[in-house]
Each structure stands twice: as C-alpha cells, then as structure tokens.
C-alpha cells in the first residue's frame, strides 16, 4: 500500500509537470490575443493632418477658376435696369 501511494504521488507529479508543459507548448503555438498595449497605441495614432485649406484649383475646370461649377446653376440674369455689381477691394 505504501508503495502504491508513492507511485501515485510520483504519477501525479509527473502528470502535472507534463500537463503544464503541454499546455505551455499549445499556448505558445496558438494565435495570440490582441494585446491591450497595441490597442492603446492604435487609438492614440494621430490621423494625418489635413492641410488647413484646400485649393479649389484641385477640383476646378481647366481654366482653374470655376469652383462650385459642379453644383451651381447658371449665372442669374440681372433684372431690368439692374446695375452690374462687382466686388473688387479698394
């Protein structure tokens, strides 16, 4: 009986060590979960800064002047006797 107990103890100890090592190997070869550190760094990645102002030239027609031409209707016709208005700086 004593011998049997001793063998059982050894068996449990060896099985535990082997199970632990087996689990280690399985975990080492399994896909890694997303690590919190990576998430943190992902969330703090700065988006590329947009230029403060875009040139309309990039969306204009050939003469480079007619921005808004995509959505603007034809120029309105002045009503009878209406003077031409022009903003020009002074």
């Amino acid at each position: 009986m004593k011998v049997f107990r001793k063998v059982l103890h050894y068996w449990i100890a060896i099985a535990s060590v082997l199970s632990f090592l087996g689990g280690w190997v399985i975990l080492a070869h399994s896909p890694k979960p997303v690590q919190p550190q990576a998430l943190a760094s992902q969330s703090s990645v700065a988006l590329p800064a947009l230029p403060p102002i875009q040139a309309y030239g990039s969306i204009v027609n050939n003469n480079g002047l007619g921005f808004f031409s995509n959505n603007a209707p034809a120029a309105p016709q002045p009503s009878a006797g209406m003077p031409r208005l022009r903003t020009r700086g002074s």
Partner: protein, 315 residues
Amino acid sequence: METVYLRAMNTDILLAAEGQAEALAAGFIQARQFIEVGERRFSRFSAESELSALNRSAGKWFRASPDLFTVVSLARRFFHLTRGLFDPSILPELKRVGYDRSMDALRELGPAPLFESLLANERPSFSEMDLDESEQSILLPPDMALDLGGIAKGWIAEQASIILSRGATACVVDAGGDMFLVGLPNGLDQWPVELEDPLQPDSFLTTLKVAPGAIATSTVTKRVWKQAGRNRHHVIDPRTGEPAVSDWISVTVTAPHACEAEVFAKALLIAGPGEAEEIVRNSGILLTYLAIDQEKKIWGNAQSMENSYVKATET
C-alpha cells in the same frame, strides 16, 4: 431698379433700389445725406472730423457721438476676434509708410518720405483703449491714433442701405465694391456679384451668388505706391508695422454685417492660408471667404464650398 452714383469716402458709391418711385426718391436723399455726414465724422484726412478730434484727445476721455462710439466699440470687438490682425491703431505705421494723405492726394502728390515712428511693439496696444458706455466716452492711451477707414465705410454702407430699404423692396449700397444688400431683386433668388480679377481690374474671375447681407474684398493690388523705391500698399500687418506679406493678393468675405465682411477680409488677407481657417472658425460669425493667390487660384474652406451663402458660376 433706380440708381444714384456719388463720390464719398475716397471711393465711388452706388445706391440702387427697387420700389415705388416716390419712396425711393426720399430714401436716396436720406441715404446720401447719411453717407456724407458719416464721411465727415469718420475721415482721418479732415482735421474737422470727429475721428480727428478723438485722435487729438489721446490721453484723456473723449465724449463721442453714438455713431463714433458704436464703430469704436465694434473695432475693439473685432480686434479681439481677429487676434489683433484687425487693428485700427496702426495709423502711425500707415503714415510712416507714406499713406499720410488721401489716396487721391497721394496719387497726385506722391507719398511722404519714410520717417521714423514708434515701432509696432513700442506703441500702445489697441487693447489698452478704454470705453465708458454710460458716458459714451472713449479713452485712447497717449500716442494712440485710430484709422477707422474700412470698418467705418462698411458700417456707413450698411446704415445707408437700411435707410434706403424703408422705401424699397430690394436695395444695395456699393461702396467701392464693398456692399450691403437688402432683400432680393425682382425675379432673382440671389444677387449676382462679379468677383474682380485683382491682377486685371477690367475683367472678372467669376460671378458670385450672394444672399442678402454683406460682401467685401480686401486686396494688396489697390492703393499701392512707391516710397523710396519700395513698393507699398495700405494693408498693414500690425505684427510688423509693415505692409503685409501674404500668399494671397485678395480676399473676399461674405458676412451678415458689412463691418464684419470688411474687417475679416483684411484680417484673412494678412493671416494668409496658415491661420485663416482658424480665425474664421473661432469668430463665431457666419463667414465665407474666397482668397485669390498670385496665380489666380481661388482658395477657401470646405464651408465656403458647401455653404449656399455664396456660390459661384463660371464666367
């Protein structure tokens, strides 16, 4: 549409209105009178103007007319909103670079020679000016003098438009290309306003569709002269005390009020592409702007494009 042309504030002024002939006639007279009185009050070139009297009183309290007090109060507000890029206290710098007389006289007689004055960082800041609302009084620090040219012109144009609108269904006061528009002309849903080519003033780049409100343009290609062989213009950068150096040569702004359009057109021209967007965003005012560079490219922001306040069509 009935029209009246006059010359005031060193610029050509157009009054135009639709409505009953009799009511319009009275409106034209009253609006014209208001403009002429305003010119006398706000001109820095006349020693008799109230503005000149205010400038002479620097260092002591000056009891102002309601109109002058209003415009100076607005100027202080815009000084802060533009982070000092609009600064009516740059008059010493304007004089130093030769703009010490009206533009008509400057063109005829030539500019004053370059002389030394207080440097921009030595003169008192406009923020040191004090206002007493209950007494309608203004205290300029010693050595401060104001030039209210653009902001006063815008304010006068808007007030004159309001006077004119009492007898009109639609009207505009156009002060040298800076306008205040009331109502809409018969059959139109917006006002067509041409945007002048700053490098070829006899042509225009595009036609803007402008809602009732204000539109103003500031440019470094007008009011230019030479002083001691150096090219000069009237848009002074308060940070340097020198004519502004900017990537843009012209900025057009629409705004609910004429003085806002005037002030921000100048401030954005000085600011250039690096700061303009932030100034507009922080202003809290419904502004749209179009800037033109040396290559005649038109610049603006996404809001300008999406906002239906101003749209442009090809010419």
